[in-house]
């Protein structure tokens, strides 16, 4: 039998009560309450050139469309743009919008609609390779070449002969 393991991914009890009621954006009235307005908000957001470019970059990286849409929706809820309810209603529209942009720009993307997709993600492979390289680097310490010690040449110390009127007389001197 499988043991039921406790999940530590959940929020701590009372975590949401650490601020005054209404201090957080999602605790006050949302900016947009209609589905129409929310969809319009997202369409305007995607029309910004930089936003579209970054979206295409993320799609090319292999991030599924469903995850992008969900993240966008959740972040808007956090910012107080719309409520969770309208966010959920808009979610498929968002997904379709992202896929439309991807198709328009001829970008290959993962829709994330396939269930039970157990294929290994390319990001995981890249991470495994990186970790392997790091471990390999630890196991094989860099061979230190013995440094040949060159004999230090003794410099001939030139002793300056005292000059001047007050100088001590030397044997060869005056």
């Amino acid at each position: 039998m499988d043991k039921i393991e406790p999940t530590f991914d959940a929020p701590i009890a009372g975590m949401s009560l650490t601020h005054e009621l209404g201090a957080r954006p999602w605790q006050s009235a949302a900016q947009y309450s209609n589905v129409d307005e929310v969809i319009q908000y997202y369409i305007e957001k995607f029309q910004i050139e930089d936003a579209e470019k970054s979206l295409l970059d993320v799609l090319e990286m292999g991030v599924p469309v469903s995850i992008i849409a969900n993240t966008l929706q959740l972040s808007s809820v956090m910012e107080g743009v719309h409520s969770i309810d309208t966010g959920l209603l808009v979610l498929p529209v968002l997904m379709e919008l992202i896929m439309y942009i991807g198709d328009k720009n001829k970008v290959k993307y993962d829709s994330g609609l396939k269930r039970g997709n157990t294929g290994v993600r390319s990001s995981l492979v890249a991470r495994a390779i990186k970790e392997f390289k790091e471990e390999k680097g630890k196991e094989e310490p860099v061979k230190e070449e013995p440094v040949k010690e060159e004999p230090v040449k003794e410099e001939q110390v030139m002793v300056e002969e005292p000059k001047g009127l007050m100088a001590r007389r030397t044997e060869s001197g005056i």
């Binding site: 589905v35 469903s66 995850i67 969900n70 498929p92 529209v93 997904m95 379709e96 919008l97 994330g112």
Partner: protein, 66 residues
């Protein structure tokens, strides 16, 4: 999984069919103003589904062109 909610909603929208005429102003929560004026009582999910369908058709057309 995080994305299950999005996938669930997407599949729900694909299966949904609002082509049948919906009863107008028959629900318990329908405001009297709408019932009296016989206005179209389109629910938020219907609005979202209408836009979703338009987008699906637009994408199909786009892929058909390519």
């Amino acid at each position: 999984m995080i994305n299950n909610r999005a996938v669930d909603m997407y599949e729900k929208y694909i299966k949904m069919n609002f082509d049948k005429p919906m009863p107008k102003g028959k629900g318990l929560l329908t405001p009297m103003k709408i019932v009296k004026n016989k206005e179209a009582n389109e629910q938020p999910i219907q609005v979202a589904h209408r836009i979703f369908k338009t987008l699906v058709e637009a994408r199909k057309e786009l892929n058909g062109q390519n």
